[in-house]
Symmetry: C2
Subunit: 319 residues, 2 copies
């Protein structure tokens, strides 16, 4: 962790240090040290979040921090990995350099560190005159040669998703005052995604990834990388009670909206029973929504009347 | 690597992909995978660089990229580690989203990747309406329990530095038109630091770190973490010919200015001959500038007349 804060900002250290894990060497050295069990591979992913692009200025800062961490943990989950720790750089305008801001920010991270059994390994705090910019690198581990990849789906595999789809997209619409979020559930799903860690699917699924850009677009990514086609059934896509209440006219938003951070998996039929057992064990719902075909580049989504759906927007774009 | 660029920005992939190493899985998956030899520990460090804070708007973008990479590699060198790879997030205003910008940016990184035998493992490219913000996480490896730490300097150890001290601080003054950089050497040292990788000192030095905040301030960090004191002699601190030309009135700038990215080491006297052999082997100059004492919290710098020097500013502050 950068030690070069001017004296008036030395108070920040206290807040950052409470997040430091064993390998972080108390954030006193140039870098952190970790050992990796030779039976495992290390999994690495990094994402940035920018004020006025990925979050609003007035979003609660503890939720911004936790969302960034969780998005990265979701990438680890997408590969079937277990989280180990993270590095974080924060670039902040002057108005953030006060105890209250840092307390809220680090309290959020501390909560999730406990929840996901990880700790901060290192990073940097710098000034940015214009806006808040965060960047997080997450480390995970997965047994050697067992990582779930996007490129290994096979024709005939069932297509499965965890949890419910579309809540985050509806949550964003609610924050934009376009729909009404009756009990705060949808907004919560947008602000605080749930990385689907804990499912042991590396010996069960053929392919996997997390859904960050929207179900349709991410299924497209997976199909392209695996050189397969896909058929899914919109009425089999699991929706939350709250999403169902919003109504069928928002179905397209659910299917194409981003930020769900559920998992998308392809599972061969002979292993479906194992997937169901694993789903019960981890208490994470798994729903089959379609199947893979040998028609590369063909992605078909049927509505409940078995008509092909077309979409105005196939996914969420971060730029 | 984030796949969620809107179609008009898909051209970026081509530039980023050429940087991808084996573990990056062609940047098609959620995360990268690497194996770690069980005889080694993994070393991790992250730094951010912000437009108008750490670099000027018109600095050459290839040099910005290379400086960020090299600062992080210098942190690895400070722990005696060997670089493995890096993850990079870039948050950019609209005017950067063109082929020319990305070509220059990635060409710079490509040069250094070859030079330091590393590759890109992952990252994210996002929009930032206001300014360029970069964050880089570097990975290295070091033999188990051999990492150089800041907290292991012993009274009696000699204090050593690599290369020459103060060039980067003078380079910055030259960019600010305060002094004249006759042959561009000082500016170059500011823009393109040389991480001192390749010295095998983990069995020779007791403590080590890189000098990023200025010699005096970083020596203070090392002394504090090791609970020792330090005595150094200003006239033994190695200066470049170009720095000598600028003159003695800038000596304080050299001793306290940041951005040198040389190494600061403490070496017990019985191993000095080994350090000298290693210095010749790696072709990296090593100079003794003082010694450690048992007077914790006492940092003394003598001038050539053996008077104690005092400093207006003890170091470089990034905030």
């Amino acid at each position: 962790m950068e030690n070069s804060l001017v004296p008036e900002f030395q108070f920040i250290r206290k807040y950052i240090k409470k997040l430091a894990g064993k390998g972080a060497l108390d954030l006193t050295d140039d870098a952190a040290l970790i050992s990796v069990n030779p039976a495992y591979e290390l999994v690495l992913t990094a994402d940035a979040m920018v004020e006025n692009v990925h979050f609003f200025t007035n979003d609660p800062v503890d939720l911004i921090a936790r969302k960034l961490l969780r998005c990265n943990l979701s990438d680890l989950a997408g590969m079937g990995a277990e989280p180990v720790g993270y590095l974080l750089t924060v670039s902040l305008p002057k108005h953030c350099f006060n105890a209250e801001w840092f307390e809220q920010f680090t309290n959020g991270l501390e909560k999730d560190q406990k929840l996901f059994n990880i700790s901060l390994l290192g990073g940097d705090t710098t000034y940015n005159p214009y806006n808040m910019v965060f960047s997080l690198t997450a480390l995970g581990k997965v047994k050697k040669n067992k990582a779930l990849r996007r490129n290994n789906a096979k024709p005939g595999d069932g297509i499965w998703v965890t949890g419910t789809i579309g809540d985050a997209a509806l949550g964003l619409l609610s924050l934009q005052n376009k729909i009404s979020d009756f009990d705060g559930f949808l907004t919560r799903r947008y602000h605080l995604p749930q990385p689907r860690l804990g499912l042991q699917l590396t010996d069960i699924a053929n392919a996997g990834m997390d859904i960050s850009d929207g179900l349709i677009q991410d299924l497209g990514h997976l199909a392209r990388e695996s050189q397969i086609g896909a058929v899914i059934f919109a009425d089999q896509v699991p929706l939350s009670l709250q999403a169902k209440k919003i109504g069928i006219s928002y179905l397209e938003n659910c299917l194409t909206g981003g930020d769900d951070y559920e998992l998308l998996l392809t599972i061969p039929s002979e292993k479906e029973h194992l997937a169901k057992i694993e789903s019960q064990k981890a208490n994470i719902p798994l729903t089959k929504i379609g199947y893979c075909t040998d028609q590369a580049n063909s992605l078909i989504c049927y509505d409940k009347n078995k008509n092909c759906m077309t979409f105005k927007q196939t996914g969420w774009s971060h730029i």
